[in-house]
Symmetry: C2
Subunit: 577 residues, 2 copies
């Protein structure tokens, strides 16, 4: 993104400008019909120009970009994209010196010309737009690149646009991916799980929409094939001081509103599913493993049904505890015993190969649920609780009405396939006294509440953006967190397909967990990454986590070898003995 | 029960004694076959004598009893029976002066004669029996009388017997009830829910069994018709000092063993279902109603779906709170609103009229379960949790393995009939934030954990013996307890059919909750009864209960107009604000 450009809109007269554009763009009929279609558009005001620019001009732009601009792959929790510029030049190319890029310069002049801004203003009915505050970037999406759901709301942005420049001589097919997808909102700041409209990019087409805080949610679908989807993306801002349409205080008000919206969005946690709610154990239960009892015969037999017996020997317990107490982290390979692991591996792998993978929220059937909203996360999960209704009324009820606790045994009995049944059994096992006792021994911490969630991250759909944990209601300012990785497919090691779970440290306590910028800067200096666990089979990662640690699960690529499967657990802890 | 009798076994010689008995009793073949049948008997060593006494003698005994002995109806949590004697003479008739009862005197001499004791000893293979420590009582069971499951173990008892004296000229039919029923034990001290053998009483028959701590569980089936089932019941004790077979210290050892057994039985709480486990709420949830917030629009709408709107007005809330704070007790009529109550009434009443009532444990199908063991309670219930397997292994697993929480919404989805579904919905409602907020307001207490149980007490089967609550793991030495009475049938007011829930005060803190003697003495002085709520429709009783309060639900008579239905709730409370 570029800073405000310096005086550059002086060279072209009206005629010059018009000649940059396609023949029909300024036609009265075209404008009228576009205005009408935008007014009636769903899920919010958006539209597109077909054949927007003069073909030659845009082909030249493309050539210049290909020849002169260096792209660097950038990846955070929210995107993976080739950005113009390199690591040494974070702002991308130098928009103040476009001397080597005359066509790009001309294009920008046209985009921010009075004529075109008036046109955009007219068809979107969004008020005047600034000609001096230009704001553009050039990106390339290649195979695996994506940008997850967000509403584009920052500061004074008024209209968002994407001008597409894939190969001008080829048709961009839908199955290539890379589409712009628009998400309706259930209520402001809460996008629906699935997009309702999508725009498939073609050369010389521009999609645009009115930036509306809490409403204009969209994403860029992952590019699925070995094609380049080049685009120039930018915003029109509200008029600046001295410009036509400038209103004293409007920018401040818009910016304040955008900040307010973000704050309100935090209050909208009631729309988050699954909720971060750890359920306290009864004191009767906690007592049974606080007295420092070793694993007894029952425990050993019970644990051995699922667990690797090597993890239950006295020596191993001592060495695990020593390591955990030193490092606050354990990565245990082969948590499950050989026979059970083999059985479960076969079940999960067959399930993902033989059953139709649910795509949209409505296709997910209980006991599986869909994590929402998608500007925070999307994945399939089981929490052992009854289904919630995804309506305003249903969410209200889930938050304020009936409060019921998870029960994986009941869930088990309602599961329709063996894989789901086995996963609920395993979750139930993790709620057993014996397992808690084992945990208590190897961590030297007393678990006093828990939340267990079975998760499936589907290729081409799922992820969790960076978040921190909420310990405001915990006795300790940290909790115990475990992930049992149960991904049966192979070839995840490179991280190319995403699906890894990454923890990183933040330097401040601002709790800006949802801001991808934090990770972006963190990723630049690699030492802030604490743990990065690739999707894998039968590995249990256990750590003490405090609110300064951000964690995310990277979006799983459409081309991944399968889903990432895991069981995620959190325990509040007590240290009093 | 009589104290040790004074020197009375001197008058009769061996021949006199033999003449008191039926012709075949002492025959070698009879003895041999009886001994064999007892050795092979199930569920524990027991047998019976047919035509035990000389017919004339026993008819005379019956006449004397009918003429001379006054019976008084006694009722506690564990029995309802006409005992000989009256209120002024608690020990029944005067066994030291049987001058007006020569046949009874003769009968006792015969029962405790050397010859007969040797016979009993021989057939039961239980060792020598005392002739000086006699221990008998005369009881009449009429319609509605019963004695619930117990193992008869007190002190030095070695053999238990019941000599039946119903009308000698009529056959006692099975459907009259009044049978002796024997219960197998799953493990020592834990009787099975249902009897496995029963003995239908006839005139001049005697049933007897070896008293075995933790094993010899039996009951007297309720007499179902307008007939008198007169009986003489008693015990043979171990030989006393000076008697043949006396062993120094044996009595003390036997008594100690019996005490030990009772203590061990307390440790066997793992076999109790449902367990008294109140599950803590998450701190997030408690927060939502600790700030003294009034009921908001959502709450009012939500509560009104089920509740009587009159109970939600500000004035009513204030008056309810005032009354509760003063009395620690509220009895609220019409908790449920008119329409919902009507709907539910119809459902429950049709259910009990139209569906086959499950009798034995195996007939009860999930989500309903059977409360066990029956020397503590028996009733059908739903706790919102998965089924437990009633085997030693299953109980171990339920106690030490998987720990899952109730979820009535999931249970609801697995219910097979509409009545069950509606009752789980109502339970779920009682777990709602809004209902807890209402509770918090009317009690001025903060509920911090709960247990909700739907119960059905079936005619001819169900009861809860007097117990106290366990607050050892609570913050306060008291808890909040509520019963929503949902019995749709009428005519319970007299208490004749049982099914009432009675609370009484104990004077000491000895926690002798399971000892029916406490209630017996309490009932004599009526002022120790705190509350007695008859089975009724749509009444909510709410009280603060501490461990000094005993509570029981009286056995529901076979002839009751229907089942007692209710929802029972307990909440741990916090008073810190």
């Amino acid at each position: 993104m570029a800073p405000v450009a310096k005086k550059q809109n002086t060279k072209f007269n009206k005629e010059d400008t018009r000649q940059c554009f396609g023949a029909q763009i300024f036609d009265e009929e075209h404008v009228k019909s576009l205005r009408k279609s935008i007014k009636e558009s769903q899920p919010y005001r958006w539209g597109h120009f077909h054949h927007l620019f003069d073909d030659t001009l845009l082909r030249n732009v493309r050539k210049e970009v290909e020849k002169e601009i260096h792209f660097t792959l950038k990846e955070t929790d929210i995107y993976k994209v080739f950005q113009s510029g390199d690591l040494a030049n974070l702002s991308g190319l130098d928009w103040d010196d476009l001397s080597r890029l005359p066509s790009v310069f001309k294009l920008r002049e046209a985009l921010y010309s009075q004529e075109f801004r008036d046109l955009v203003s007219e068809v979107t009915q969004c008020g005047k737009l600034s000609g001096v505050k230009t704001d553009m970037s050039i990106n390339t999406y290649t195979k695996g690149c994506h940008l997850l759901t967000h509403d584009d709301v920052i500061g004074s942005r008024r209209v968002s646009f994407i001008l597409y420049l894939p190969d001008p001589d080829k048709h961009w097919k839908e199955h290539y991916g890379g589409a712009l997808r628009l998400f309706p909102a259930l209520v402001p700041n809460v996008p629906e799980c699935d997009y309702s409209h999508k725009f498939i990019p073609q050369f010389n087409e521009m999609a645009f929409f009115k930036v509306q805080p809490g409403l204009s949610f969209h994403d860029v679908e992952e590019v699925r094939v070995d094609k380049q989807r080049l685009s120039i993306q930018g915003w029109y801002h509200i008029p600046q001081r001295g410009e036509d349409g400038f209103i004293e205080g409007e920018q401040e008000e818009t910016e304040a509103k955008s900040t307010l919206q973000q704050l309100e969005s935090k209050e909208l946690q009631e729309y988050d599913f699954p909720k971060e709610v750890r359920l306290p154990f009864s004191s009767y239960e906690i007592k049974s493993y606080t007295d420092g009892n070793p694993l007894d015969a029952f425990d050993l037999e019970f644990l051995s049904k699922y667990m690797n017996p090597e993890l239950l020997t006295s020596d191993k317990l001592v060495s695990l505890q020593k390591k955990f107490v030193e490092e606050n982290l354990l990565q245990i390979d082969d948590l499950l015993n050989h026979d059970y692991a083999k059985h479960l591996h076969k079940l999960i792998r067959s399930h993902e190969l033989d059953s139709v993978m649910p795509k949209r929220r409505e296709e997910v059937s209980f006991p599986w649920k869909m994590a929402v909203p998608p500007h925070k996360w999307r994945f399939m999960y089981m929490d052992g609780k009854q289904p919630e209704e995804w309506t305003v009324e249903g969410v209200k009820l889930a938050n304020n009405g009936v409060q019921e606790s998870p029960n994986f045994q009941l869930t088990n009995q309602m599961a329709k396939d063996e894989t789901t049944r086995e996963l609920t059994q395993l979750s139930s096992f993790m709620k057993s006294k014996s397992f808690k006792k084992w945990l208590r021994i190897i961590t030297d911490l007393i678990p006093i509440s828990d939340q267990i969630i079975v998760r499936r991250f589907r290729p081409g759909h799922d992820f969790i953006l960076a978040t921190s944990v909420d310990t405001s209601d915990s006795k300790q300012d940290a909790l115990l967190e475990g992930t049992l990785n149960l991904t049966p497919s192979k070839h995840w090691e490179s991280g190319e397909f995403g699906g890894y779970e990454l923890c990183m440290a933040t330097n401040d306590d601002d709790e800006e967990g949802d801001d991808p910028a934090i990770y972006k800067s963190s990723a630049d200096g690699d030492d802030s990454v604490l743990v990065n666990t690739q999707a894998c089979w039968n590995k249990f990662t256990l750590m003490v986590r405090d609110p300064s640690v951000l964690k995310f699960v990277k979006y799983v690529s459409y081309n991944a070898p399968g889903s990432r499967w895991d069981i995620s657990a959190q325990w509040d802890i007590d240290m009093n003995e």
